[in-house]
């Protein structure tokens, strides 16, 4: 047991964490946009399932990976629009409507799966695409630059999201709508247009998150493939204090601890499996509790905005 934890093991764990964090990142970054503008979309997991199925179906039938991602994005976008319609146009209670969207996605993805495919199948998904030169860098190369395209996409998304939120007029509008929609409205910023945009964008990214599972990481689809992953993503948005870089950090910590607990079990360290599998969740909760006092959520989060009383 003395040489268990070697450098190569650590590299493996980190590469594993980078991979595992991918679906969380897409979903959580998308959800960050929605929540910054004041919409809590609890339907992420359902949208991911629909995205996962759509992408899987395209690849299963045609082998077209890009087409799979595009359909997943489109389906996610449409589900995001549905959520926006319910929560923005109809001003329905966001928690309830999100759960509705989740259940819809859960049921609908399974229904389509039963009707169109009907048994568990595998496909060949996105292959590992090492980035020339960078992938040869010792240590960092294998961790960061020997992944598949959708993994890279998730990490490129983080600085883009940061830039949009902090450096663009759109980001300013999103933050204002989430903090004080009335003020934004009086300045000619359309609250509903912004919220439609962020929630649809969130839906689209959740769809891609699903695709990253079904055609890049797991290459399989079955009922409830995500297994609640979308809800963890929402928790990560809170942990990240609604900031993309912190969401990235949270996703990586959660994924790393998950990879670590698997490794700990595999090498046979005497820790009961029940305890090991709990650690990522305990960690997330602990961090949430600590960070809750640190960061304030957007003031208008989960509140519908109606100009006329």
């Amino acid at each position: 047991m003395e040489d268990l934890f070697t450098g190569s093991v650590l590299i493996g764990l980190l590469a594993s964490a980078i991979r595992l964090a991918t679906p969380y990142l897409y979903a959580a970054i998308g959800e960050t946009f929605g929540q910054r503008s004041g919409v809590l979309n609890l339907g992420v997991d359902g949208i991911m399932l629909m995205g996962a199925f759509s992408a899987f179906y395209v690849v299963f039938k045609t082998g077209d990976l890009v087409g799979g991602v595009l359909l997943a994005a489109l389906v996610g976008l449409l589900m995001g629009l549905l959520m926006a319609f319910i929560s923005v146009t109809l001003s329905a209670e966001q928690g309830i409507s999100g759960i509705g969207v989740y259940l819809f996605g859960l049921g609908m993805s399974d229904l389509l799966f039963q009707k169109l495919i009907n048994n568990v199948q595998t496909v060949s998904g996105f292959p590992v695409a090492p980035i020339p030169l960078l992938s040869e860098i010792p240590v960092l190369g294998p961790i960061l630059f020997r992944q598949n395209v959708l993994v890279y996409g998730a990490y490129i998304l983080v600085p883009i999201a940061w830039f949009v939120l902090n450096k663009t007029t759109l980001g300013l509008k999103i933050k204002a709508v989430g903090e004080n929609p009335e003020a934004a409205d009086t300045l000619g910023v359309s609250v509903s247009r912004i919220r439609y945009f962020t929630v649809s964008l969130g839906g689209m990214l959740s769809g891609i998150a699903g695709a990253s599972l079904s055609i890049a990481l797991l290459n399989v689809f079955q009922f409830n493939l995500t297994n609640g992953l979308g809800f963890i993503a929402i928790a990560l948005v809170y942990f990240g204090g609604w900031r993309p870089t912190w969401v990235l950090l949270g996703s990586l910590i959660f994924s790393f601890v998950n990879a670590l607990q698997i490794w700990v079990q595999v090498v046979g360290l005497p820790i009961p499996s029940d305890i090991a599998v709990m650690t990522p969740y305990i960690l997330t909760i602990v961090v949430l509790v600590i960070s809750a006092q640190r960061v304030r959520p957007p003031s208008a989060l989960s509140k519908a905005y109606e100009r006329l009383e």
């Binding site: 450096k167 204002a176 903090e179």
Partner: protein, 521 residues
């Protein structure tokens, strides 16, 4: 196109704005009934009226938030349709809302830039915005720090941000919705200096208010709205406070207020070295001590957010104190539950009447008897005695002049003034020993304010010790026998009404020790 005059801000001037025959209906209400209104450059035009008279509705139509059912809006002779705030902004209209439309978590520059196209396409151009803010600030004497976050600013500074925001957007006409409600007297003076300068430079200003002395001191013309109609537009120099009040209410009002010097040996309510924390866990009250005698109104003046709600809540048993004690007639009330406090004879009119005072969805009668439900005339063995409840409620509604369609109407359909009367009826019909009245007339129209004031004075005559917490100095001066001032959770001093001046109280509200205290120490 005629060439427009340019204001010092660089914005084109609006010489004349007219609103003609404006009609606006809401379900069941005629909010504006053929209203005519106009304002010119170089003018401050006051728009006066009680709550619900239609002032805000009229102005929201000018600002594009509502759309008139009939009538037209004419800029410098050209009729215009205003579909949205954006249209209004493009026409040169700015609105300073009563509740500031600022995003706390953003900086001044970000708030100003919000919603405007950037010179750098999708990227923000905050450095250029900052530069322009500084220019405007200098021209109009508005000192603001562009990089400061809104939550770091005082209320007065936030108002300056609002003005800059409007000017930045090219405002030549400013709508000011009750702009002084949140300011200290000194800040009000500052504010008027700014506004006067703006009017002299050629801006057109619409000043919505119900504070008659401000209207008299500072405007050129006054338009009074009542029940959605324009009941008259007059030159300010040709009118006076009493005439304006009569126009607003439609009948003569009592402005009789007399105060007395109280001498009491044993105070009824005694607060000693009381400290407490705010919701955020920081000290909100620091060693607060004062006494209120039977038959006395003690006014507690102070700018919003200096510990007033916390003080009321601690006395009412709703918030724990960290030290000190509260005595009523030598009985210790510290740490009592709200029920025990009620039983000791304390009545409480809370500041947030829709949150702490009333259940909005419940009916008038349910709200009226809520506190006394356990008494035998209302319930026996957990069953409500509906007959007694209805009878008692009907009595109270009549006695306290609550305007409601029925006792079964939900509170949320009542106006602010009538909702407040329901609380007043519930609280003072109990003949309390102590009355804590927090902002009792906030958001309440003049008629109801007059009524509530009369009732508070009436209680004083029957020997109730009243603590009147108010941010409205007119109210403090009108009702109090003595005035205490709270600042940052500390009592700055207590003075007799006869010795108090607006100036001295205002200084204390801004945190200065009164001269007596200074010499005493």
């Amino acid at each position: 196109m005629t060439q427009k005059q340019i204001l010092p801000s660089g914005n084109p001037r609006i010489d004349r704005l007219e609103m003609q025959g404006i009609v606006k209906r809401f379900p069941g209400v005629l909010a504006n009934d053929h209203v005519n209104f106009d304002v010119n450059a170089f003018e401050v035009h006051a728009l006066l009226g009680e709550n619900g008279a239609g002032k805000s509705t009229l102005m929201k139509q000018l600002y594009g938030l509502y759309h008139p059912d009939q009538g037209q809006i004419i800029f410098d002779g050209e009729p215009r349709l205003i579909h949205s705030p954006r249209d209004a902004i493009n026409l040169g209209i700015g609105m300073i809302h009563q509740h500031f439309m600022l995003v706390d978590s953003l900086t001044v520059a970000e708030n100003v830039a919000l919603g405007l196209p950037s010179t750098r396409g999708i990227m923000t151009d905050l450095d250029r915005v900052t530069k322009r803010i500084c220019e405007l600030a200098e021209v109009y004497g508005l000192d603001v720090e562009p990089d400061a976050y809104i939550w770091q600013l005082s209320v007065g500074q936030q108002q300056k941000v609002e003005i800059i925001k409007a000017l930045y957007r090219g405002a030549a006409l400013l709508i000011l919705d009750e702009p002084t409600a949140v300011l200290t007297p000194q800040e009000v003076d500052d504010f008027f200096v700014t506004l006067t300068k703006m009017a002299n430079d050629g801006h057109a200003l619409i000043f919505i208010s119900h504070k008659l002395h401000e209207v008299m001191a500072f405007t050129h013309r006054v338009t009074v709205l009542r029940d959605g109609k324009n009941v008259g537009t007059v030159n300010t120099v040709d009118t006076n406070k009493n005439l304006l009040a009569e126009m607003m209410v439609g009948r003569p009002l009592n402005f009789i207020r007399n105060y007395k010097t109280i001498k009491c040996g044993n105070p009824r309510l005694k607060v000693e070295n009381l400290s407490a924390l705010s919701d955020r866990g920081v000290p909100a009250l620091k060693n607060v001590s004062f006494e209120v005698c039977a038959g006395e109104v003690l006014g507690l003046a102070g700018v919003s957010g200096n510990g007033q709600p916390e003080l009321a809540q601690v006395i009412a048993g709703l918030r724990p104190s960290t030290s000190g004690k509260i005595m009523i007639d030598d009985e210790n009330l510290t740490g009592s539950t709200p029920m025990q406090v009620i039983d000791k004879g304390v009545a409480y009119i809370p500041e947030k009447r829709n949150v702490e005072g009333l259940i909005k969805e419940f009916s008038v009668s349910e709200n009226l008897i809520m506190r006394d439900l356990d008494q035998e005339i209302y319930s026996r063995n957990a069953f409500l005695n509906m007959g007694n409840i209805a009878k008692r409620s009907a009595d109270l509604v009549k006695t306290f002049n609550v305007k409601t369609p029925s006792i079964d109407t939900p509170i949320k359909s009542l106006s602010g003034g009538n909702a407040q009367k329901v609380i007043l009826a519930r609280e003072i019909s109990r003949q309390p020993k102590v009355l804590i009245a927090a902002q009792p007339t906030r958001g309440v129209d003049i008629g109801a304010t007059e009524y509530i004031h009369e009732r508070i004075i009436e209680q004083r005559e029957t020997g109730t010790a009243t603590l009147l917490i108010s941010e409205d100095l007119d109210e403090i001066f009108a009702l109090s026998d003595r005035i205490a001032v709270i600042f940052h959770g500390e009592i700055m001093g207590v003075v007799d009404r006869k010795d108090a001046t607006l100036q001295s109280i205002g200084l204390m509200m801004a945190g200065e020790q009164p001269p007596e205290t200074k010499t005493a120490e």
